[in-house]
Symmetry: D3
Amino acid sequence: MSENLRLDGRQVDQLRPISFEPGIAPNATGSVLVSFGNTRVICSATIEKRVPGWMNAQGVEGGWITAEYSMLPYSTLDRKPRDSSKGRVDGRTVEIQRLIGRSMRAVVDLKKMPGMTLWIDCDVLQADGGTRTASITGACVAAKMAFKRLMNDGVLAENPMENSVAAVSVGVWQDLEVLDLPYVEDRDADVDFNVVMTSAGEFVEVQGTGEEATFTQEQLDRLLSLAKKGIAEISDMQSAALA
Amino acid sequence: MSENLRLDGRQVDQLRPISFEPGIAPNATGSVLVSFGNTRVICSATIEKRVPGWMNAQGVEGGWITAEYSMLPYSTLDRKPRDSSKGRVDGRTVEIQRLIGRSMRAVVDLKKMPGMTLWIDCDVLQADGGTRTASITGACVAAKMAFKRLMNDGVLAENPMENSVAAVSVGVWQDLEVLDLPYVEDRDADVDFNVVMTSAGEFVEVQGTGEEATFTQEQLDRLLSLAKKGIAEISDMQSAALA
Amino acid sequence: MSENLRLDGRQVDQLRPISFEPGIAPNATGSVLVSFGNTRVICSATIEKRVPGWMNAQGVEGGWITAEYSMLPYSTLDRKPRDSSKGRVDGRTVEIQRLIGRSMRAVVDLKKMPGMTLWIDCDVLQADGGTRTASITGACVAAKMAFKRLMNDGVLAENPMENSVAAVSVGVWQDLEVLDLPYVEDRDADVDFNVVMTSAGEFVEVQGTGEEATFTQEQLDRLLSLAKKGIAEISDMQSAALA
Amino acid sequence: MSENLRLDGRQVDQLRPISFEPGIAPNATGSVLVSFGNTRVICSATIEKRVPGWMNAQGVEGGWITAEYSMLPYSTLDRKPRDSSKGRVDGRTVEIQRLIGRSMRAVVDLKKMPGMTLWIDCDVLQADGGTRTASITGACVAAKMAFKRLMNDGVLAENPMENSVAAVSVGVWQDLEVLDLPYVEDRDADVDFNVVMTSAGEFVEVQGTGEEATFTQEQLDRLLSLAKKGIAEISDMQSAALA
Amino acid sequence: MSENLRLDGRQVDQLRPISFEPGIAPNATGSVLVSFGNTRVICSATIEKRVPGWMNAQGVEGGWITAEYSMLPYSTLDRKPRDSSKGRVDGRTVEIQRLIGRSMRAVVDLKKMPGMTLWIDCDVLQADGGTRTASITGACVAAKMAFKRLMNDGVLAENPMENSVAAVSVGVWQDLEVLDLPYVEDRDADVDFNVVMTSAGEFVEVQGTGEEATFTQEQLDRLLSLAKKGIAEISDMQSAALA
Amino acid sequence: MSENLRLDGRQVDQLRPISFEPGIAPNATGSVLVSFGNTRVICSATIEKRVPGWMNAQGVEGGWITAEYSMLPYSTLDRKPRDSSKGRVDGRTVEIQRLIGRSMRAVVDLKKMPGMTLWIDCDVLQADGGTRTASITGACVAAKMAFKRLMNDGVLAENPMENSVAAVSVGVWQDLEVLDLPYVEDRDADVDFNVVMTSAGEFVEVQGTGEEATFTQEQLDRLLSLAKKGIAEISDMQSAALA
């Protein structure tokens, strides 16, 4: 790996610079501006003191987590029309917000937040690949901040979120298996994985896709190893940001 | 595995009875009613002689494949309201139709169907778990029939679809790793995988989710082995149905 | 009428082959696949144990019947876009589902199904003219099956549906007054009637339209006679299918 | 018929007072405020110098007629929410505007208005039963005025509308067969017919419905006679209003 | 001001002929057809015996006033598509109905109409500039009529509307400061004001806009003087119409 | 004014601390995060090289400016549902984006940006009153930055925006006439003005509203003086930020 093959000068197993700016949205219960290189996402966590109608209807106890994701119109080089002006949310957005919601629910004990909904909002300020993995990573930090505040305020007795969760993309780009793809790599990748793991090293979600391509068991194994390495590093950065 | 632990009497690595009834919708270019046990899906493939606007706008050559998925209102025990009466398509539906589309595009050479859109429609007649994997499996058969007909009619010079594609679910249910989950297992599963592979044994898509749970590398490995075994069997049944 | 003038070789007063395949959708309370020649419609009847909000609001007693009709996208030679992808139900569909609902309510005693809604769903699998009349005819069979099951299960004390109801189209095509028009006749007809009658020989609905044409009293009389003859035959076939 | 049985003192075969106030909407090509007793409808006819997209796409020559119908929110005793605030047009409205459109197209030679769309708008100012039949009757007068103006202005060479068209309701109310039902009779009627005829005495549309009831051939015959008598009278009033 | 510079022969400070035709919509609680020259608007006031959900939710006492505004499709020389056929209300309409609602609430004591919503509906029959100011002026008359009727019927103990409210447009057109602009002046005006005042001479709303232009303090002062003069005259006409 | 009466300790004619953070959204042509105290808005200006369809259809030359405004869900203390999840843009939002658009068009010479649309996006990150006036003020800075960049890049020959534009709120709160109202004052104000002026001291827009109240000529005069003072100060800060 002595020779550098990536356009931005990174090693194949090297993350982009990652940073967290807490408190970006003071009216949220917790919030952070997360950056993975030029990808920047406003992540917020807001508590609402009621649960969705279906929980009451079905008599389900505990709380709920819902995530919404949006690309701000100026996040892309060509302005992206707002979902509200189109009157509907597009398929990619739906997929991403469902993924964020599942990832958060995997590490939160919903029973410990009875009668509450945690709203996760991820708004992309600048898009350069990996917005969904940055969103999950930032959402975890925002949620941790929110739960800490609710414990301090005596609203919650126990912390519903012991572990943290982080995500990263890996893929096959120009026959290289690479970590944390920026837009130019992502656009041309043959295989694209998004991997979500806990700070305890367990998988939450593995989504691997060959867009007009396929992949072998060996590729899958190597890509997951790469993702594990990246997530372990991100996990440490989350802890540092929350300390 | 001598002791039977599944509710329907199957071994953990045993598929449900799978069958294909071709020609269910004679006005489609190709169609099949696919059954995975009590899960039954009408799959059709229809050729439209134009491509989406964005292909013309961006100057992309070749053809396109779009998939639509729907659960008929009487497919579930409690009647499911139609998307049209709600005025919008729900998130789960969007996710599934995007998955079907990607799976088909992975095994079709779009360059060999210039100026055409292949519409894949999957309408669930009876739902008992695994409707998305049955849909992909049936869609492949319907598409193969459609392409054969277009070759016979001289509309296509070359077959755009050499390989076939099939899908199956695997998961962790009551600490068992099981193949092809019916609704009662799917509902209670801790880990749920949908795996799509080609008849050549390569992966097209791996989607593994721990819904309010996580999974280890070892579980992932064993679940993928189980899926491979199932898909190899399904692939043979597809070939037989098309013979 | 010795000389045969219709494209499919039928006499002017002859029905297409009609058949009923019960149990097509096992999760519905009752279901049937009805065929009028190449027109094939999945008809189901599902009981929901509540009534529409307006009945509670207005203090109306008894139950209700609601019908939904849809043409599956592969039912036509050119693929028909789904209502859900257009975000609204078109005018023709609205007209047809209102007609099906009224036809069923005319032969069901709503007082005898208190607190229940009977959902009638008609999905056209293959369209070749007369889909609305086939839908009504099939919906009657599905509903009869559903009520029989509810009586057997002890959910209903009395049968709310004594009579049956059936429907047929008649029209003026190339100066011939013809029964049960397939698409090619329907498309070119000057006058188009849809007639709904009970098994007791009474009218439920008469809808006669001169599309960019008019018709006389004498034509109306002869067309209604033709419809009566057809409906009497269909009524017998319904009874046989339910026996 | 010496004894008077109707609530408003009319004979069973007697129309309500009918009047036409032309020019109610001066910016339309033709317009009239039509009254059938307390039912009052603003009817306008406006020419647009283009045809619907499907006519160009299919290469259909001539012009087109489209009708829109709406109940103004203050037309009913309880305020009726606007379609626009509900975001969709309800089923009854769709049915009525399709009926108005067909009725007008039956008496207009679309070939004689090439490249033009005639928009018929019917807005109910006060509703007391029979709004659809009043709408058709008024729309005919507005359209005649519009065509006359277009001929005078040299826009049209020939009059596309030789005959006129009128409509009336008949029904069975408290075992009486009655003409031109106001709301209180319509609400309780067992059988409800809307009949549309030309000034030449031919039928354009017959819609007879037994709402939760049925009707015999004899009832149908007598109701159509009643309708004919009423329409002949209305037809004369239209002529007088246009003279 | 001896020389006449306006296209319709008016002095710069002269109103168009204004008239009120009460009772245009008899099913409303109060209604009037108001004319400002060729601008004619149907204004109605209807009482509904409940309040919006947010009032109950927030525990707000008293009643509420909501206004809806619409241009009928034949009100303009080129037919204006209905909001309902577009599926949404456009921005200009939203702005106007919010303005009408605020204007009415400024002169009505909502505490004196507990548990009631007053619906103001303004439908433009003919549009020639100033439809929003005519709407407010007519809405006031309709509301006064409605409250009078409710007091007579004993539904209200006290009159919630002591003062009246009226509105007029003023603007800068071809360097002239003019009162009550018709469409041809409004279209070309550099500065456009809508002013709403009470019969007591106080302002309710001042909206002044330089569309692709600006205006000075001196212009603002002179335009408001012109508006005051006009509103005082309109206020007298309202009183006369209600006497 | 020696005694301090405002909750946040300001004088009645004192602005909140105002700041501009340029470059917040690097993919936009120009962008700034503007703060008026705790009200913070992301303002961006993006050039699109085409104009709205109606300009081409009507043959209007030059360019266009469109503004979109949104409150991010975490901008308020109680989470605000997204417009996209409601499927429509609410009335207040429509009003504000129209105001921003008009304000920008008043100071930009559209003829000097032929064939281009300038998209102004204002997303409220934190809301504490005066979001619309902060949006206009920030939008001006973002647009100036965008035009400067387009001139530097040789895309534009001349600067279309000579003057700048700024806005502020004034109102009557607890009988005090105050400048730049935060949420707690705005909520309880009897009279609320939004004033938009150019750097040359001319008015662009004056919107004064008495919500369930009225105001006199004298109050109007004093409030406009207060606004002028504030806008002159803001104008200087804009210049400093752009220097």
